[in-house]
Subunit: 591 residues, 2 copies
C-alpha cells in the first residue's frame, strides 16, 4: 500500500563516495563497500588465517578539513572494517583466526581523528561512536558465537580508538621497541571519554582493576609493554626482532585449538563454489559472496527489493516496510548456499540494516519510523522453520546471527518505532521481532479482515537483545508465563487474541484506525527529540544489563553529555583546542 | 596532621535556613533538620504505623523566584523527607508500615517545582535529582533490609516526582474521584526525563510492559485508577468515600503480616528509654535520638567531632579526614543504645554523610578529595567486631545499613577520591571501604614506620556497593581469589604486602612521597571535570548492574545530557518556556 513505483536506478557504489551525482546523494554517507574498493584496509585470507591490515590513506576522508594521519580514522575507515568483518563471516567461514595489524611503521592506530571530531556536529559524533562500537560488538559477536579468534598485533602505538579496537579482540600483543605504547588519552588530552566502549571494556571485559584503569585512563602517554601486561591491558609483548614470529606462533597455536562446531564445505566443494573471478584475497572462497545491495534512491526515500523506506520529511516520520519472502524458498543448506545473498532473510535484513544506518546518519530530522511488514505470515514462518532446522549449518548460523545484529541495531537506533499491523501484513516469527522491538504497536481490529501475528521458534532465543534476553522476555518481565504462552501457541493471533496475550499496545477498530494512527504520529513527532531519545534508551532495556548495554546506556550516555559541554566543545574546550597553539580552559565546577 | 585548631561554634540549625549570619553560610545549603523544624511534612507515629503527610508550605523555599504550589517540592522539601525516613529507622524501629500521603485537597504531589528547575544551574539540577533519588533508594533500602513497608496513599493527583515518590514505595493506592491521576509528564510537557529514577522503576521495579510505559510516559494527563491498575502502575484504587477506610484496612493487614526479624525493645523498656521531652510524634520512643550534628564552619572547611574537611579552594581539592574511635567503646547493644548517636560508627558516618553532601552541593569547584583515616586500626576493627557480633540487634543493623548508604553516597559523588595511607592512619575494616571506594590509593612505603591496613568481617558483604557486590569483589573481578585472601588474613598488611595483595595503587617511598602526591593532585585537578565525572562513573561500577546503578548510570546520564540541550534549557526550550505564554520550539534533529 505504501509502495511507490518508479524507475529503479542502481546505486553506483564507487561514484557515490567520490563523485556525487545529485543533490540528494551529496549529503549521503554510503555504508556499502567491498574489499576491491577499500582505501584503508587490506584483507588477506590464507586458509584458516585472515589478516586485516590498517593502512589509512590520509587524504581519502569522508568529510573535509582533516587528514587521516597516523592511521587515525573517520567513519569511512570504520565502514570498511565493518564490511571486512561481515565478509569474513559469510565469504570465508573457514577462517579461524583474524589478525588485525598495521602497515604503518611504529604506529598501529591513533584512534578517531580529532580534527574530524572537532569539526563534526554533536549528532554526527554520537552516531559515529555508536557505529564504531557496533563494529567492535560485531567482532565480539563473531568471537563468541562463531568461534573465530581475533588477535590484535600491535606493531606500534595504539592510542584512543586504536586501543579500543584492540580491546575488542580476544588477545592483544604489543611490540616492545622502547617506544610503542597503548593509551586512552581522551580524558587528559581531549576532555572527553574514549567513545567506543573503551572504559567499560577495560573494567568489564579485561577486568582491569579499577584504580589501575583510573591511572591508565588519565595518562596521556599510556603504558608500554611490561606495565601494560602486568596490569592486564595486553596479553604479552615481544621485542621488534621477534614480534612477527611470536604472532605467527600464537596464530598457529590458535588454529590448532579452534574447532568449528558447524559443518563447513570441504576444500573440494570450495573449489567448485569458486568462480574464476580474481580475488584480492588469494584464497579459495568457502562461503557465499555478498554482492552490493541494489537500492533505488528517490527524493522521498530508498527502495530495495524487500525493503521500502518512504520519508515524510515535512511530518518528520518515515514509513519503513519490510516485504516478506515470496514463493517457495529453498529448505536445504545446499540450495540456500547456492542462492547465496539473494536468500530472503539475508537480503531482507541486509537491506533493513542499510536503511537503519541511512536513517540514523542521513536523515536526522526523522524522529519516528512506522514499521510495516507486507506479505504472508506463513511464508515468513516457513523461512524460520528452515533456519531453525538447519541452525548447525555454518551459513544458516551466520544468517541468524546477522538478523540478530540488525535487530539490535534497531533497538539502539535513536528514533521512535511504531509497528503498524494491518491486513496483508506478515509480522510472524523473525518479523514479529520488529513489532516487539517497536516502542508501541497498533493492530487493526476489523473482524471482516484477516489481521494476524504469530511467533516461531526463532522468537525463543535466536535473536536476543543486547541485554541477553529475548524481546518476549523483556516484554513480559512481570509475567514470564505470557512469553511461554505466546511461544507455545501453534496458530496465529487475531487482533483481539493478540491484545489479550499482551502482544500489542492498541487495537483500534476500522472507524478509529486512520485517525488514531495519524494523531499518534503527530503527537510523537511534536515531542522533544532529546527527551524521546533518553526515554526510549531507558524503557527499551528493562531487566539485566550486559557489557554491551552498559557501553550504550552508561558510557555512551555520559559521553553524549560530555560532547555537549563547553569544557569539550566550547571555544575554550579541550576538543576544540587540540593541536592548536591555544590552550584549553575549563570551568572547574564538578557536576 | 591536617587538623586546624579553632574555637568551636555550634551550628545554629534554625537560623542557618532562615537568617544566614555570615557570608560563608549564606550560600550554604543546610542538610540538617528535625521534625520540630519541618515546614513541609508532618511525621506522626502511632505504634507500628507511621504517617508521613506532605503539606508543602509554598513560601518556604530554598531558592528565590518560585512558590511551591500544589505540593511541588524543592531540595528543602526533600531534605525533610530524607530526615524523616532516617529518623523512622533510628528513633521508631517498632514501626512496621509507613503511609505517605498529602494534606492538600485533590493533590498528592506535583513533583519537583518546574520554576525552581528552570532557574537552577545545570549542576544544581543534577545534584538535586541525585539527592532525591538517594532518598527514594533509602526508602527501598528500608523496605528491603529492615522490613518496613511503605504505602503511598495517593489521595489526589501524583505527577512527575510525585509519582516517582509513590513508585519508590512498596504499594500504591489512588483515590478514584473522577479527577485524580498519576502521570510522568516530563517528556511531553518539559522535554526532559523524570529525574528521580521514574522510568527505570517503571520497567524494572514495577515491570510495566515497555510499550505501556512508553504510552504512559508521553501522556501529559496521565492515567486514572482503572487503566493505571490494569497497566500495573498502581496496586488499586478506591472511591473517595472509601479511600481512608481502605487504606486503614490495608495498613492493618500489613501490620499483621510484617514480623520483625530482629529484637526490639519491649514497651516497658521503651517507656524507660523515653525522657519527658514533648514529642511531636505522640508516641513512645523505642529507638535512639538523632541529635543535631555539631559542626564548626570555618572559612576553609568544616570540623566535626570525627570528621574534618579542609578545602584547598585555590588548588581545587579537599582533605577529608575521618578520625577512628577513641578508647573503649561499648560492646553490648544495651550499652550502645544508651550511648545512642554518640556511638562512633553512627556519629562518624553521619558526619561523613553530611560532609559529602556539603562537598557536592556547596563546593562545586572542588574536584578531588584526598581521604585520610586518623587513628588506631585495632580500635576500628574492634568496632567492626562488635557490629558483626550483634548484627541481629535492630540498632546495630540500622547502623551498619546506614554506613553502607553513606559509602554508596561516596561512590556516587562526582568528585575524584584519592586515599592517602600514612603512619597513624587507620584504614581498617569499615574504614578500609573508604580506600576501596577511592579512585586510587597511595600508601607510604617506609620500613621505619608503621603503615598498615587490614580487612574485617564487615568487608565481606555488610557494606555493598549499589551494584550488589562488595568493594573487594568489584576490585578483584579478574581475580576473585584475591578478595578471599584479603578477608582471610588475620593480621595487618604493611605497604609491601598491601601492594602484593592488590589493595593499593601506588606505594611511594619516603623520598618520593610528598612529590608524588603533590603531582598526582596537580594532575588530577588540571583535567576536564566533566570527563572525569563520566570516566569515574564508568570505571567505578564494573560487574553487574542493578536497578540502582541503572538509575544512576543510564537514566541519570541521559538526563544530564538532556538537561544541557537547547531543546530543554535554551531560550526556546520546553523547560524554559513552561508556564509562560511563549511556546517551546525544538530542533528536531534526533541524536
Amino acid at each position: 500500500m505504501l509502495l511507490k513505483n518508479g524507475k529503479r536506478l542502481y546505486f553506483p557504489r564507487k561514484r557515490v563516495l567520490e563523485k556525487p551525482r545529485r543533490q540528494i546523494e551529496e549529503r549521503m554517507i554510503n555504508f556499502q563497500t567491498s574489499p576491491d574498493q577499500y582505501k584503508h584496509w587490506k584483507l588477506n585470507v590464507a586458509g584458516p588465517v585472515a589478516t586485516l591490515t590498517m593502512d589509512v590513506a590520509e587524504d581519502v576522508t569522508l568529510g573535509q578539513g582533516y587528514k587521516l594521519k597516523l592511521n587515525s580514522y573517520d567513519l569511512g575507515v570504520d565502514i570498511e572494517l565493518a564490511d571486512a568483518i561481515q565478509r569474513l563471516r559469510f565469504e570465508h567461514p573457514q577462517v579461524k583466526v583474524v589478525v588485525i595489524t598495521s602497515l604503518k611503521p611504529r604506529i598501529f592506530c591513533a584512534g578517531a581523528n580529532i580534527y574530524m571530531l572537532g569539526t563534526s556536529s554533536h549528532a554526527f559524533k554520537v552516531n559515529f561512536c555508536k557505529f564504531t562500537n557496533e563494529t567492535r560488538c560485531a567482532i565480539e559477536d563473531d568471537s563468541r558465537h562463531s568461534g573465530r579468534r581475533y588477535l590484535a598485533a600491535l606493531n606500534g602505538t595504539a592510542s584512543g580508538g586504536g586501543y579500543e579496537l584492540a580491546i575488542a579482540c580476544d588477545e592483544i600483543y604489543l611490540v616492545d621497541d622502547g617506544n610503542s605504547a597503548i593509551s586512552l588519552p581522551e580524558v587528559p588530552l581531549l576532555g572527553v571519554l574514549p567513545g567506543t566502549g573503551g572504559l567499560t571494556r577495560l573494567v568489564d571485559k579485561r577486568k582491569v582493576r579499577r584504580d589501575r584503569a583510573d591511572v591508565f585512563s588519565t595518562l596521556a602517554e599510556g603504558l608500554k609493554g611490561k606495565r601494560a601486561k602486568e596490569w592486564g591491558l595486553i596479553d604479552d609483548y615481544f621485542p621488534t626482532s621477534k614480534f612477527q614470529e611470536s604472532i605467527d606462533a600464537r596464530v598457529g597455536e590458535i588454529v590448532g585449538e579452534v574447532t568449528q562446531t558447524v559443518s563447513l564445505p570441504s576444500d573440494a566443494e570450495a573449489s567448485r563454489l569458486n568462480d574464476n573471478e580474481s580475488s584480492q584475497t588469494n584464497s579459495l572462497r568457502y562461503g557465499i559472496t555478498l554482492n552490493p545491495l541494489q537500492v533505488e534512491v528517490k527524493p522521498a526515500g530508498l527502495e530495495y527489493k524487500y525493503v521500502n523506506l518512504i520519508l515524510n520529511r515535512e511530518q518528520r516520520f518515515a514509513d519503513l516496510t519490510v516485504r516478506g519472502p515470496e514463493g517457495d524458498l529453498p529448505t536445504t543448506p545446499e540450495e540456500i548456499q547456492k542462492l547465496g545473498d539473494a536468500y530472503w532473510p539475508l537480503q531482507a535484513y541486509r537491506e533493513l540494516d542499510h536503511a537503519l544506518l541511512h536513517l540514523r546518519v542521513n536523515e536526522p530530522e526523522i524522529g519516528l519510523v512506522c514499521v510495516r511488514a507486507d506479505g504472508n505470515v506463513d511464508d515468513v514462518l516457513a523461512v524460520d522453520q528452515t533456519l531453525e532446522a538447519n541452525k548447525d549449518n555454518w551459513l544458516i548460523r551466520e544468517i541468524v546471527l546477522f538478523m540478530a545484529r540488525v535487530l539490535r541495531r534497531l533497538d539502539l537506533t535513536a528514533k521512535s518505532f511504531f509497528a503498524i499491523v494491518e491486513p496483508g501484513s506478515c509480522f510472524g516469527g523473525n518479523l514479529l521481532e520488529l513489532l516487539l522491538a517497536a516502542d508501541r504497536s497498533y493492530m487493526l481490529n476489523n473482524p471482516d479482515e484477516i489481521v494476524e501475528i504469530m511467533a516461531s521458534e526463532l522468537n525463543a532465543g535466536a535473536l536476543p537483545m543486547s541485554n541477553g534476553l529475548t524481546r518476549l522476555q523483556s516484554r513480559f518481565l512481570a509475567e514470564p508465563e505470557k512469553a511461554t504462552l505466546v511461544l507455545a501457541r501453534k496458530e496465529p493471533f487475531n487482533t483481539e487474541e493478540a491484545e489479550v496475550a499482551g502482544l500489542i499496545t492498541f487495537a483500534p477498530d476500522d472507524l478509529d484506525w486512520e485517525d488514531e494512527i495519524r494523531v499518534a504520529i503527530e503527537e510523537r513527532t511534536s515531542l522533544s527529540p532529546d527527551a524521546l531519545t533518553g526515554m526510549e534508551a531507558s524503557l527499551r532495556f528493562a531487566g539485566p544489563e550486559t557489557m554491551d548495554t552498559k557501553i550504550y546506556g552508561r558510557l555512551t550516555a555520559w559521553q553524549n553529555w560530555i560532547f555537549q559541554r563547553p569544557n569539550a566543545v566550547g571555544p575554550e574546550g579541550a576538543l576544540t583546542n587540540y593541536g592548536k597553539p591555544t590552550q584549553a580552559h575549563f570551568d572547574f565546577k564538578r557536576t
